[in-house]
Chain length 140, copies 2
Amino acid sequence: MAEKAIIKYLSGKNLKLTPQRKLILEVFLNQGGHVSSEELYDIVKARNPGIGQATVYRTLKLFSEAGIAEEVRFGDGVSRYERKDSQNHHDHIICEKCFRQVEFSDPTIEDLQEKQARKHGFDLISHRMVLYGVCSDCRE
Amino acid sequence: MAEKAIIKYLSGKNLKLTPQRKLILEVFLNQGGHVSSEELYDIVKARNPGIGQATVYRTLKLFSEAGIAEEVRFGDGVSRYERKDSQNHHDHIICEKCFRQVEFSDPTIEDLQEKQARKHGFDLISHRMVLYGVCSDCRE
DNA sequence: TAGAAAATGATAATCATTATCACCTCTGAC
DNA sequence: GTCAGAGGTGATAATGATTATCATTTTCTA
Ligand SMILES: [Mn+2]
Ligand SMILES: [Mn+2]
Ligand SMILES: [Zn+2]
Ligand SMILES: [Zn+2]
């Protein structure tokens, strides 16, 4: 469970499990989808009005480092976060008209990325891949 | 040639060929690699000190729309541009330690991207793919 | 060559994110 | 219990790349 992973990560680094982090974690996990820091802040604020926006930024970055969240950038200048499931990685396709987005996973592509990296002497750590197109609805 | 492409693009849209655009084009084409707007601005400024930074931003965007430049984002918050060769698309691998970057092209990946898009009802327009890893030098 | 349309350069504005810093909270010696 | 230190928080200022604004200048065409 993600809460366990966070507790483990925090204790391994002498970091603390605070009420703010607990709350942000709970909201983040129940949220699903791709959430920006500001969106999450609005939700969290409703439960704890005293919370600061900087804390949400900091905590989402912390979740990424702990491996339970992944930053996604669709190119609009805003970072979004989604739950990270190391068993089930996926990438995204976005409609340039309506911004609807679809998740997909393609093990063959992942394999080839790995091979390309090795071929050029790199140990692959991660990748970003976003496809941009026009969805069926927007094509008329 | 790229200059021809620009002239064609401009005249087709009632846009004008100015000395600034000519100069920025020449510098951009002779530059090669991945250039940020600011880097290009510094070079251009040496040849024409009166030029404005906003003009460089505007012109690089124009080149992208005209199809002779392509915006590349490596995730450091800066947009870079490189010459676009529609015959020879490529993607990038970046070292997370030294930021050295390598270009590669993999037609099979491109095919599979196209297929994934179609499979989800999208007409694929473009994609961004950047691999992050550690290069041979930085691995020790 | 005149006039409309577009471009330019200086400058201010934007806006997501980060840095700063005074204060708070916890934990573990003593 | 007291204290000290490490880490955390919230308010706020700062950052920095990019874009918007606008008065002025330039281009192009009829
Ligand atoms: Mn997703
Ligand atoms: Mn390149
Ligand atoms: Zn759509
Ligand atoms: Zn390296």
